[in-house]
């Protein structure tokens, strides 16, 4: 008797009708969007603050490099000494004072530069000041040695290497970024999905145990069927939730950008200014076209198919383990010791994906990890945009599928015994014994 559809239906409906699930589904995107809006607002607020920095330059040669910016105002102090200048800044409640001591030896001038302030300045302020002084002093040194600065400026060149594969496809740096973004997004999505819905499956198994309905259920259905039904039903609920999140999040972002978009354009933060300039630049328009081109160059069909296979394979592999953990314990607090071995390979996969795939998508490390079944779904998904031979994908998936069958068998064994065990938390040794029952 095949009860799988019935179990899937119940699991799905119970999840979807659950109040906290509904709240999560509709409130999470709101929270996310609100968070993004708050962060955006706060960072603007931060930039809005005007800073007054006074310069006391006894050498008199460096003053000209300090040009007022939108939120940073410089005041050049003259005819005063350090102590009175300090007092003045304090009473004016200005941000700080840059002091450059006069000296015959230029090296001493360099080491004598001091910044006085009430609160310690941010790294970016200090490095910006340092850059300004460095540039001026470098120029001064060059001039002193008889080098024509203008000639140096004129001889600066910018090289952009145009990339092309042997088959004639044009690629660019944007291409790599795009590939990374796609691979990263796919891998990370899987990671999140496993953690969120794996936990949900585990809780649902524990709930059946604690409510003691489990024995009634398994006198009607095989435990494996119940486990698979649970995994599939919960996954479908998860996909539903994800789809709602994507749609709702998209709509909210659109609404938000329409409300705040006008404001943002008026703000003209430095980044936006740069963006605007860049847009007018014909080179960048060209770049955008290249980006579109590289998007089309991605192995899209391969990407979509591989995503489906590795996503499902990886998800089922891990969720069966989550179900086994749920069956082995009585309550959620006992799950910790069994969670670690599940989370570890998953986190490892994400880190390997992020660090090695960027460096060398076809290097030994990323290739090996894209075959190990517990890391392959994430790492392979990250690699595929860079073009992975089909045979490697098929082999990797075959290994994954084989392992999946094994873990489901293994999880089902633990599940079958575990769901009827109450009381003390089992050790790994006991779990091993259960497999042989």
């Amino acid at each position: 008797m095949n009860h799988l559809p019935l179990i899937i239906k119940r699991e799905y409906l119970t999840k979807v009708k659950n109040k906290s699930f509904i709240v999560m589904t509709f409130v999470s995107p709101l929270i996310m969007v609100a968070l993004i809006a708050v962060v955006a607002y706060l960072s603007q607020l931060n930039n809005d603050k005007d800073r007054h920095i006074s310069i006391l330059d006894e050498t008199g040669v460096l003053s000209e490099v300090f040009v007022d910016k939108e939120h940073t105002k410089y005041t050049i102090l003259t005819d005063t000494n350090l102590e009175t200048a300090k007092e003045l800044i304090k009473s004016n409640e200005d941000f700080g004072l840059l002091y450059i001591e006069k000296s015959e030896n230029p090296e001493e001038v360099i080491s004598s530069v001091r910044f006085y302030s009430d609160e310690s300045p941010s790294l970016s302020i200090i490095s910006s000041l340092e850059r300004k002084i460095e540039k001026k002093l470098e120029d001064a040194k060059l001039q002193k040695n008889g080098v024509d600065i203008e000639k140096i400026e004129a001889s600066k060149t910018n090289v952009t290497i145009a990339q092309e594969t042997f088959t004639g496809e044009k690629t660019s740096k944007i291409d790599s970024v795009l590939k990374l973004a796609f691979g990263g997004a796919a891998g990370y999505l899987l990671f999140m999905f496993i953690i969120i819905y794996g936990n949900m499956i585990m809780r649902s198994v524990i709930e059946e145990k604690t409510s003691r309905i489990i024995e009634i259920i398994i006198s009607s259905v095989k435990p494996v069927q119940l486990m698979l039904g649970k995994i599939i039903g919960t996954s479908l609920a998860g996909i539903t939730q994800f789809a709602i999140w994507v749609v709702l999040g998209g709509v909210l972002m659109l609404v938000l950008s329409m409300i705040f978009g006008v404001d943002m354009a008026q703000m003209q933060t430095p980044q936006q200014e740069m963006m605007n300039q860049a847009m007018q630049n014909p080179d960048v328009a060209n770049e955008m076209q290249l980006a579109w081109q590289s998007f089309l160059n991605l192995p899209l069909v391969n990407l979509v198919i591989a995503f489906m296979f590795f996503f499902i394979g990886g998800y089922l592999l891990y969720s069966s383990l989550y179900a086994a953990v749920g069956a082995a314990v009585d309550n959620e607090t006992d799950t910790q010791q069994f969670m670690l071995p599940i989370i570890m390979p998953l986190v490892l996969a994400v880190y390997v994906g992020i660090f090695t795939v960027i460096e060398d998508p076809h290097g030994t490390v990323s290739t090996v990890f894209s075959f190990i079944p517990f890391t392959s779904p994430v790492v392979m998904l990250m690699r595929i945009p860079f073009g992975v031979p089909i045979w490697q994908q098929i082999l990797s998936f075959a290994i994954l599928a084989f392992t999946f069958i094994f873990t489901v068998w293994f999880a089902a064994k633990i599940y079958r015994v575990g769901i009827l065990m109450y009381g003390k938390k089992p050790s790994y040794k006991e779990l091993y014994k259960w497999i042989k029952y």
């Binding site: 008797m1 009860h3 179990i7 119970t14 309905i213 009634i216 006198s219 009607s220 029952y437």
Partner: protein
């Protein structure tokens, strides 16, 4: 074929622990079969094997002449001792789901549920959640779900726990009625008075072994000691007592009576019968109380478990 269920030399080990050792039972059709035993004796393991929740290591179980197969779950209704329901699910939805898992169609399940809900007077619970019900109310739902698919074999593990006396009686009557309608019942409990009341056959499992089984009346016959409880009225208590003591083996008796002067348990030898005793007693005093001491299920249980 008189036996609905036959378990033949069933053994089950969990690691080094033997839960069942060569246990065989035969459950006659249309009977109420008491499966008894102290805690941890292996009853639940045997019941789980019958329900195909666990597989036996050796031995086999036949249902109606066929070895157990997955399809047979439709013919069995099982109310486990550790029972519960999905707390946040509605009563009606839940009962429908469980009935469908037993192979009923939705329409059929609905029809039968309606009948049972009316019969047990719980019609208006359909849209309530389990967590809103009391324990006894939830037990009623569980009982209905167990019997809804009209199984040939019903297995009840402590069916009366959690019920008040009125509802326990109600459920007891339902069990008897199901038996009369042709169902066979396996009944596991520690409450010996309900064994006495309901069971035709019993089997006693102790430390993974079956130590006793058969018809309850046969077992009682086997365990009776030819002892009679007598109550006499006389003016000469001492001489009558001594006269009886001379002729028979006598033990003090404790039963409640209005005004018996002599209360004794008299054990007869194999060649003596009750008429001999009665004749002797009537010649000595006025007999007010004369009854054979029949061992109760409780006595048999305790005696068997202690002796093994």
């Amino acid at each position: 074929m008189n036996n609905l269920l036959v378990a033949d030399s069933v053994s089950k080990n969990f690691g080094n622990f033997t839960a069942l050792n060569n246990v065989s039972i035969s459950v006659p059709k249309g009977s109420i079969f008491g499966l008894l035993g102290p805690n941890g004796a292996g009853k639940t393991t045997l019941i789980r094997i019958i329900n195909q929740i666990t597989m036996p290591d050796t031995g086999q179980v036949m249902l109606d002449g066929e070895p157990l197969m997955p399809e047979h779950i439709q013919n069995i209704g099982y109310l486990p001792e550790e029972r519960g329901l999905y707390k946040s699910m509605k009563v009606g939805e839940q009962a429908l789901y469980l009935a469908q898992l037993k192979g009923l169609t939705k329409q059929e399940a609905k029809k039968r549920l309606k009948y049972w809900f009316e019969k047990l007077d719980i019609g208006d619970w359909w849209n309530k959640k389990i967590q809103e019900l009391s324990k006894g109310q939830a037990q009623k739902i569980q009982f209905i779900v167990t019997v809804l698919h009209q199984p040939k074999l019903l297995i009840f593990d402590e069916p009366f726990s959690g019920f008040d006396p009125i509802n326990a009686n109600l459920i007891k009557d339902e069990i008897l009625q199901l038996r009369d309608e042709g169902a066979t019942v396996i009944f596991s409990t520690h409450r010996m008075e309900s064994v006495e009341e309901l069971c035709d056959h019993i089997a006693l499992i102790h430390k993974s072994n079956k130590v006793l089984d058969g018809k309850l009346t046969d077992i009682k016959r086997q365990y009776k000691t030819n002892t009679f409880e007598v109550g006499l009225q006389t003016d000469t208590v001492e001489s009558v007592t001594n006269a009886i003591k001379e002729k028979f083996e006598v033990m003090p008796a404790t039963f409640k009576n209005l005004n018996d002067d002599v209360k004794l348990n008299v054990k007869l030898k194999a060649q003596e019968n009750s008429n001999d005793l009665l004749k002797f007693l009537t010649s000595k005093a006025e007999v007010h109380h004369f009854v054979e001491v029949i061992p109760s299920a409780n006595d048999i249980f305790i005696q068997t478990v202690k002796n093994n």
